[in-house]
Symmetry: C2
Subunit: 438 residues, 2 copies
């Protein structure tokens, strides 16, 4: 079956993902050879402490990662060590001498994607990264290739398992953020330092990648507006339940039309109240799902495990097979296309509906005063509801306002103004709403 | 932006899908050119009656379809006319002279796939068919490329919108099959002659394609076991509701292990009782969804509109962009891989759990007699329940049996034997069950 010369693979990292990649390459070698038409040969595995990797044949282990990527008999470098430095330089070295690269490094791609794409282009090498977004869920290839004949208008995803686990636990058990985070840490769903996850950095890097691919343009991590979940309270969750919604941390990439008719893109990460009937609302625990809207295709959803050693290894190995097939065909796969080159817009250009809860005086005139503040700012109210105090402590009532779509900045100003109203004790919750409320 | 020579496209058919392809090619020409790096040029549209297509520029229309595919200035043929003859010969002609082919023709691929793949291979041309299964849902490329580094164990899909619409209506409205079919016809979800859909031929063709791609082997339409939904009764639907299940017509492709440890595949289409908690159970109306299980990736689901002019055109155009990019890179995309070459097994090799409803005498000894018949056949019973008669008419009781997994043929024999028991009036429903019952 194997007609071509072996494709020689260097593996950088043998942690949770890398060890699975090494194992599967060895165990399923014959299948890979048959599918590609040439065998895959693992020629080196760069690790920090070789003694910790008894599962990898000793002669393959090396601590000289720079030496490994510079070897001119290496056809493809698989990078699963993460981080920006020295990883960026290592991958550039590999690409510049014509080796293809398969990486799961979302942060690096979001920060330095263009530089890496250009190096790959210049050398005629492949740069694949299916594993960088949503683990094993095929997403990059469907967006870049299957939907290349369509116009994607929006990509909306649950792309961080840690925060989804925490929000699911808060919803199911009624616990607060701190308690849910502690549980996630105890069960291994959150890292000791959960900042990258809970503050939305991880999701923002993925949003940058998704927006770049979906809109044929270049969106970097710094173009992505970012709010995490640390401010989401049990009261927010209860407020969402009352209007038939679930709170999810979403990465949202949208095609916008500017006032002058020109096109632009927005990429952002923030918590959202999502109606229970929305396909993303039912995605619980550590699962990931990405919802795509395109002009011709309509609404699509991709769902699956978003992380973990084996699922991520599946994505890495799929890319490796693609590199192998391309090499054997004497070429490379489709390049990244940044042809549309659309400008990225900040939150100032984005309009959202908002759900706002206020603690107010329980007396007449309050509703008029609050409605007046919205009217003054030009924010149109969809519904307003008075209800029993949710947060306890003191006299008063709770007022819940859902607005029609309003510019993000205008809304912030309005909320600031509400806080200053005599009747308003406190703005207890402000959250964006997506989808159709019942 | 456009650096390459134009890719010259011949379109066969200008019906629901073809007219959308022609429209989008014209309207979004600049975007295609930018994404591919070369423009797409529509050079001819073959139709039966040119007068019926005022939307297509008159100079492009031709009734000479054989002449169009034989033109040596055509780089790619897009086929959306369907049917086996003369379509098969037309596409072979195109492939043999080196033109690539993009087709939505599931029946042709399921019947003559190998012949077409071989012609494409021999000529170094692309043969793409994302639109043949599940409309705009990216499925072929994810299975063939993204999951090429994994071992897919099962693919299970709702791939026919007509039957899903009918079963959804039967479930939601409690109506019988005939009434739901009439409603589907009235609303345009079923054709005047619904045979291909309701008898499972359409789903079986898609099962053959999915099994071939997923298992790197060749599965034809004749290898697929097929049962339609015409026998599904309102009583079946009610029986499913009572055990927390929904009835769906599924295309199921499985990797099997033979008794001697060798591997084989099974592809089949039949109605299934699926627990409401299963992700496929909630897919209603004309939507399609495909659930994939793989050793490393775990469980994935792909969801979206399964038919319609625009969604199918989206899939066709995605393939067209891929052909264009491949041509420009001087090559072609990954070939079909039939490397595994696994034998296809008939239903005799497949085991399923079954849900069986019986009308029986309402007297002691019935349960023992029925249980005895199962025991004699070696079929293990999971649960048995006696309940009020569901089907009306006459005295007696209803007995509902759910079995553990049993070979399909053994089960058929058992059901035949049950019918002959003195106490048993009638076997009212026999249906396979998948997933975990609550």
């Amino acid at each position: 079956m194997s007609r071509g010369p072996a494709l020689r693979v260097a593996l950088l990292g043998a942690g949770v993902v890398g060890s699975q990649v090494a194992r599967l390459l060895t165990e399923n070698g014959d299948e890979f050879a048959a599918r590609i038409g040439a065998p895959l040969e693992l020629v080196g595995v760069a690790v920090r402490r070789p003694a910790r990797h008894p599962e990898v044949p000793a002669h393959l282990l090396t601590t000289d990662v720079a030496g490994l990527v510079a070897r001119d008999d290496v056809d493809v470098v698989v990078e699963v060590i993460g981080g920006i430095d020295p990883t960026r330089e290592l991958l550039l070295t590999a690409l510049r001498r014509g080796a293809s690269v398969v990486t799961a490094n979302k942060a690096l791609l979001a920060e330095h994607g263009p530089e890496l794409y250009e190096a790959a282009d210049a050398a005629g090498a492949d740069l694949y990264f299916e594993a960088a977004v949503a683990g094993a869920i095929p997403l990059i290839r469907p967006l870049r290739e299957s939907l290349a004949g369509d116009r994607i208008t929006r990509v909306m995803g649950i792309v961080n398992g840690t925060t989804n686990f925490i929000l699911s636990a808060m919803t199911a058990d009624g616990v607060g953020y701190a308690e849910a985070l502690a549980e996630a840490t105890r069960l291994g769903f959150a890292e000791a330092d959960p900042t990258a996850d809970v503050d939305g950095f991880d999701a923002a890097a993925k949003a940058a990648i998704l927006a770049s691919i979906a809109f044929h343009t270049r969106v970097g991590a710094s173009d992505v507006y970012r709010e995490g979940i640390a401010e989401v309270s049990a009261a927010d969750i209860r407020a969402a339940r009352r209007i038939g919604c679930t709170i999810k941390l979403l990465a949202i990439c949208e095609r916008l039309t500017d006032d002058d008719g020109g096109e632009a893109v927005s990429a952002r990460v923030h918590p959202v109240m999502l109606p229970d009937a929305h396909p993303l609302a039912g995605v619980d625990g550590a699962y990931n799902a990405v919802y795509v809207e395109a002009e011709s295709a309509g609404r699509l959803m991709f769902y699956g495990p978003g992380a973990g050693g084996a699922p991520t290894a599946s994505a890495v190995l799929g890319d490796l097979v693609a590199v192998g097939r391309n090499r054997l065909a004497g070429g490379r796969g489709p390049r990244e296309s940044a042809a549309a080159d659309l400008p990225a817009r900040s939150m100032e250009s984005v309009s959202s509906r908002f759900h706002i809860s206020l603690d107010v005086d329980d007396r007449s005139g309050v509703l008029a005063a609050v409605a007046g503040a919205f009217a003054e700012a030009g924010v149109s109210i969809s519904t307003v509801r008075q209800e029993g105090r949710d947060t306890g402590g003191g006299e008063g009532a709770a007022l819940v306002v859902v607005t029609h779509a309003a510019p993000d900045t205008v809304l912030s100003d309005t909320v600031a103004r509400l806080s200053e109203l005599e009747y308003v004790h406190r703005v207890t919750s402000v959250m964006r709403v997506m989808g159709d409320l019942r």
